[in-house]
Amino acid sequence: MGVGIEVTNLNAWYGANHTLQDINLNIPASHATALIGPSGCGKSTFVRCLNRMHETNPIARVTGSVRIGDLDIYAEAKPVEIRRRVGMVFQRPNPFPTMSIYDNVAAGLKLNGYKNRRSLDEIVENSLRNSALWDEVKDDLKKKSGASLSGGQQQRLCIARALAVDPEVLLMDEPASALDPVSTSKIEDLIFQLKAQYTIVIVTHNMQQAARVAEKTGFFLNGRMVEFDSTHKIFTNPSDKRTEDYITGRFG
């Protein structure tokens, strides 16, 4: 089941570039939350702070606190532990090119030392079902490589891979921006189903997408969170002038 996320006074830097400034918000459990904003405003940086992927960049630095469930992820745990609980789907599909479909989905478990083969089969099947890919790939699970799938299928494979470790939170950084419209709508349907079980944070610069899948939406601008509210409120009656300008297309 999903857990809530509580972000307090989060600041992030790339070198001297102060990328995120004093972010505070509460992301509700088992719902989808969208983050919108013009490109370069810090959305990716923000979600990467939620599973400490930010730290893979040597010049990056973070202050503030992030609580996932009842765990302060910066004070009370190591990055690997966080990342096992907080799955991530990236902008470009990134299946492991040398692995079969099956191994791609099982990777998170196998590489963490999970050895139970029987239950692995089951988990792979469930994850692929949950990512709506099972019917398309069930016949060549171990024959085809992950890289041989189409772009949309690859992205769903990446979602299945993230689901296989049974995370509590799923971060998605523009998961559909590299995909065609049909694949995009499949991913959106998927998010819609998954949010019953997982807390989903989805970055998008497609406002319709945010409106379709998310209950809550946050608007980022220049490294600050300008407004965070119910999606309906943001899109129909935003309280901040800048939010209104952005969603009506007056800039960005």
């Binding site: 030392g113 469930n126 049974d166 819609f192 019953a196 319709q208």
Partner: protein, 361 residues
């Protein structure tokens, strides 16, 4: 205002992953995590393994410094005897043969050692090699990068690669049985007849071995590396440079000369020096064709020896500690010189290729 459309809730009922696992209660709750979750939670953070792995890799990388230090240390240690006996004079002294009164450099029986004839042989054969190889190598590189039909480029590059992969001992074999007879029968007589007056080609060595044979075989051996590095620095010259020159109405040669060679010249010098580094230390082929005589002659057709050759030739049969020590000191000198030459060459090549823009063609 974007239209807000109510999302379609798919009719198909979702099964939770946990619901299908027999080991876990049918209705999962937040307090009772799934099998997978429990496994991962118990998994630990691998901080220790990660740190260990990191340091292991650092250790592997540091081993490169370790090797250089080790070589230096051992060579210095084992050459102490000769160093204390001769000091720096080892590299310039000469002795006099009591019977003939002629200068003499290397007499293991009487423990008289001087590196002079070997330094001379190494420098002379390497210089000859560069003289022969550099124009050819640059020519080949120009041909391959600027003029060669695309279809020929692959096979020719492959041939150069092969040439670079042939072991030294096989060049030596070929040198002994093909090159040396060829020089002896057909080339040397001509050189003696036409250029004997220069003093560089004396008719006093009927074997065909000697500095010239060593120089030719070295030239063949360093050609691939010089030409492929030259090619690399030439392709690193940005296209805008060529176009700028062509736009002035230059011919192809002028474009190559002004647009390419001028911009790549530091890198080409680097490639040549790298070739020199190889030639200085090349052992087997030279040993097999240079004649292995510790003497200094002006004539290129005379027998001689080189630093690497004398080590290869005498080390296992050295007659005493001083002899061994002297050979090791020659090895030490060779090591230091090649390190300096290679480091210098590397810096030059890097200076050109590192700032190069990504190749888009």
């Amino acid at each position: 205002m974007p239209e807000i459309r109510a999302p379609q809730i798919p009719s198909q009922k979702l099964k939770t992953p946990a619901a299908q696992k027999p080991a876990v209660p049918a209705v999962p709750s937040a307090v009772e995590p799934s099998l997978v979750r429990r496994f991962l939670l118990a998994r630990g953070n691998s901080a220790f393994a990660d740190r260990g792995f990191h340091w292991l890799m650092v250790l592997c990388a540091l081993s490169i410094f370790g090797i250089v230090a080790l070589i230096l240390w051992q060579l210095v240690l084992r050459s102490q005897l000769s160093w204390h006996a001769f000091g720096f004079r080892f590299f310039y002294q000469s002795f006099t043969n009591p019977e003939t009164g002629k200068p003499m450099y290397w007499d293991p029986v009487n423990s008289l050692f001087s590196a002079v004839p070997f330094i001379y042989g190494t420098l002379l054969s390497s210089f000859l090699a560069l003289l022969l190889a550099v124009p050819l190598a640059v020519g080949v590189a120009v041909f391959l990068t600027e003029m060669c039909p695309r279809a020929l480029r692959g096979p020719l590059a492959f041939l150069t690669e092969l040439l670079a992969a042939i072991p030294s001992v096989i060049y030596g074999l070929w040198g002994v049985f093909v090159l040396v007879p060829l020089l002896r029968e057909h080339v040397n007589p001509g050189l003696i007849q036409w250029f004997g007056w220069t003093g560089l080609f004396n008719n006093d060595n009927p074997t065909g071995l000697g500095f010239l044979a060593a120089g030719v075989i070295l030239a063949i051996m360093i050609l691939p590396i010089v030409s492929s590095l030259t090619r690399e620095v030439m392709t690193a010259v940005p296209h805008s440079q060529r176009e700028a020159v062509l736009a002035l109405g230059a011919t192809r040669w002028e474009m190559i000369r002004m647009g390419v060679l001028r911009n790549a010249r530091i890198g080409i010098v680097g490639a040549i020096i790298l070739g020199l580094g190889r030639a200085l230390g090349e052992t087997m082929a030279v040993t097999m064709v240079i004649g292995n005589t510790p003497e200094i002659h002006r004539s290129l057709l005379s027998n001689g020896s080189s630093m690497a050759a004398v080590i290869a030739n005498e080390f296992t049969e050295a007659v005493g500690d001083m002899h061994l020590s002297a050979l090791i000191e020659i090895g030490l000198a060779l090591f230091i010189v090649t390190i300096i030459v290679n480091a210098f060459a590397q810096l030059l090549v890097w200076a050109v290729t590192r700032g190069a823009p990504a190749q888009t063609h």
